[in-house]
């Protein structure tokens, strides 16, 4: 049952972890490797040890939600991944993709509340010695940033000079009502992070609108549904003079970044609003080496964002120029 599950980061996460398990995101590690690398650099600066495991697989949630196959394999896959974290590390698990976070949370919730499914999953994975007990806590790195906001603020070396940044929270984090950080309709914690980095948060009317990447793009409704929908979102951002949009989901990042030229071809915009992961933004402000931030993966070029914050032109190699 939903309760207004808005809690403080302290209530949700507890204290700053010394070590955490980072869940690999398929889309993140392939489309935007800079996201994963930025997060690792940030956590290094915050003195948090990061553990990943090559035995972790895709969460398999995306195609499940497209009804590509029935839930049994995804429940077993989730149980397997989570049991790896439980059995080998005993650490909290952090995702950097709203999708991974959402699917793992939803599927683990189903496993924990339906003993028949838990048994089915554990029977399926027991052959390799895995057993999921429902103990591991699942979080998203954006929650950690907010928990450690004061520390991050103190470590800013490249303040963002009032850059006008707008948030895209995405859907799969705030739709989870099993304990989230902020109100699902009126969240403000990303905006607080921008302020801490010296940027100007911009509110635009369609800020809470979905990116459409989830199932919409999966069904290749790109033309008839996702594109007009994204067009409305970007029109609203453009009206407010947004210079940059951040995401906390590589899936959203693909939608907002890679669809822009296609939108332009269909007569929406043009927008030319660069999009990056919130981790890459924080990494910029904390002085992480530009190469490690991986902006070469971006479809929409950064459009002078780096110059605005005092980093000269040509400071990185743009794979698109």
């Amino acid at each position: 049952m939903n309760s207004p599950g808005v809690v403080t980061p302290q209530e949700r996460l507890g204290t700053k972890p010394e070590k955490l398990f980072l869940f690999r995101s398929c889309t993140g590690s392939m489309e935007y490797p800079g996201t994963e690398s930025a997060i690792k650099e940030i956590l290094k600066k915050l003195n948090i040890e990061v553990v990943m495991d090559p035995d972790q697989t895709c969460c398999s949630g995306y195609v499940l939600t497209c009804s590509g196959h029935t839930p049994e394999p995804s429940l077993a896959v989730t149980a397997r991944n989570l049991s790896i974290v439980e059995q080998r590390y005993g650490l909290d698990m952090f995702c950097f993709c709203n999708g991974c976070f959402g699917y793992n949370t939803e599927l683990s919730h189903i496993l924990k509340h339906h003993p028949t499914y838990m048994k089915m999953a554990n029977d399926a994975i027991g052959q390799w010695g895995y057993e999921y007990q429902g103990k591991v806590r699942i979080f998203h790195v954006q929650e950690l940033y907010y928990l450690l906001l004061d520390e991050i603020r103190a470590k800013v070396v490249r303040p963002l000079n009032g850059l006008r940044i707008a948030s895209h929270y995405g859907c799969h984090y705030l739709a989870q009502q099993y304990g989230i950080l902020d109100d699902g309709d009126l969240p403000t914690f990303h905006e607080e992070i921008y302020e801490a980095l010296g940027a100007t948060p911009v509110f635009y009317k369609e800020r809470r609108m979905c990116c459409g990447y989830a199932v919409g793009r999966g069904f290749t409704h790109a033309e008839s549904v996702v594109q007009p929908h994204l067009g409305r979102k970007f029109d609203s951002a453009k009206e407010e003079g947004v210079e940059l949009i951040t995401t906390t989901c590589p899936g959203c990042n693909v939608a907002l970044d890679r669809e822009q030229p296609k939108l332009a071809a269909r007569g929406f915009g043009p927008y030319n609003i660069p999009v990056m992961d919130l981790g890459q933004l924080i990494g910029l402000a904390l002085g992480v080496d530009l190469d490690k931030l991986g902006f070469a993966a971006n479809t929409v070029p950064l459009n002078g964002v780096l110059e605005r914050i005092g980093l000269g032109k040509g400071a990185y190699s743009d794979g698109n120029s």
Binding site: M1, N2, S3, P4, D183, D185, L186, K205
Partner: protein, 345 residues
């Protein structure tokens, strides 16, 4: 058998229900002490710009009652006072009543009537509506204050669009309470109709799932608001409010048509769920009263107002109720108090 008229009845709460209970007891010559935490009597009635179903001014009801209580020798009214402690005794309760200067007086009460009323639910959990975040998104009592301003002549320059959302926090198992708060359909119709009376060029929309008008003259009242005062009722619970160009954009579905709609408004009035007041919670704990899972004081099975020996409830501390019901319960509680004060030794 003696008539224990000397034993006082303590009435906690000076709203409609408390006033009625004190009045009936006083008329019959039973000593009453009426304790009220604010410095006026009448409770929520004083905040209302009008009333249903007859559009009467609540002040016309409250003022004569207050005078009657002042003149009644048996009634002692203690304003700016609260019950700060109580101990069960053989013949009732020994209570401590503390006033706002910190002075405490003791009272031996043979019967206690709890009439501590309700509060509106805190709506900060409804980010989709923005109460507390966007200007001009008000709860129903906050809007009564606006209606009072408009009635007093301080009208807005441009005729506004006022949108009323019913069932905010009520009939809501997700973020609110599953129950229906009973009075909101009626008071919303009243508020929406009053807007049109005060500002004929204004527009009132009421967004509803149902309208519940079960009472004498209630259905006629709502129909007259729709048909004679031209308030537009749209069936659909609003999904989202967004600020836009200094106004408020409402996204909703007109479920009777099956079409999503957007409506622009200047004021949004949220009919917040009725909750037991802070005072109700405190008295329930102090007297060890049985409450339901939502905090409303529960009477004993098959008893209309008796909560436990010598303790009775009246008004919305027991559940949401309109003024007439509060008065009826106040009178019933007074009668029960008289009965207990007269019972055989």
């Amino acid at each position: 058998m003696g008539i224990h008229k000397e034993q006082s009845t303590l009435v906690i709460g000076g709203g409609a229900a408390g006033i009625e209970a004190a009045r009936i007891l006083g008329q019959a010559g039973y000593p009453v002490v009426l304790v009220e935490k604010s410095n006026w009597l009448g409770g929520v009635l004083n905040q209302l710009a009008s009333s249903f179903p007859r559009w009467e001014d609540p002040a016309q009801f409250v003022e004569p009652r207050v005078k009657e209580l002042e003149k009644c020798a048996a009634v002692k009214v203690l304003l700016e006072s609260v019950v700060s402690g109580c101990q069960k005794t053989e013949n009732g309760y020994r209570v401590q009543i503390k006033n706002n200067h910190g002075a405490v007086e003791e009272l031996q009460a043979g019967a206690v009537i709890i009439a501590t009323g309700f509060d509106l639910m805190d709506l900060s959990g409804y980010g989709e509506y923005g109460h507390g975040a966007f200007p001009n998104v008000l709860n129903s009592l906050e809007f009564e204050a606006v209606l009072k301003e408009w009635s007093a002549g301080q009208k807005p320059q441009k005729a506004p669009v006022v949108a009323f959302f019913k069932c905010v926090g009520s009939r809501d198992r997700a973020k609110g309470y599953p129950y229906c708060s009973k009075i909101c359909c009626m008071y919303t119709a009243k508020q929406a109709g009053l807007v049109k009376d005060l500002l004929p060029d204004a527009k009132s929309y009421v967004f509803y799932m149902d309208y519940r008008a079960s009472g004498k003259e209630y259905e006629e009242f709502v129909r007259s608001v729709i048909e004679d005062k031209h308030v537009r009722y749209v069936r659909g619970r609003p999904a989202k409010v967004l600020p836009e160009d200094g106004r408020l954009l409402i996204r909703c579905e007109d479920t009777l048509m099956g079409v999503p709609v957007e409506v622009r408004a200047d004021y949004i009035v949220l009919a917040a769920a009725i909750r037991p007041s802070q005072g109700t919670a405190e008295m329930a704990e102090m007297f060890g009263l049985h409450t339901d899972p939502y905090g409303f004081i529960e009477p004993e099975p098959f008893e209309p107002v008796k909560v436990q020996e010598r303790v009775f409830l009246a008004g919305s501390c027991g559940f949401a109720v309109e003024t007439l019901g509060a008065l009826q319960q106040g009178a019933a509680a007074a009668a029960q108090a008289m009965a207990v004060l007269n019972q055989a030794d």
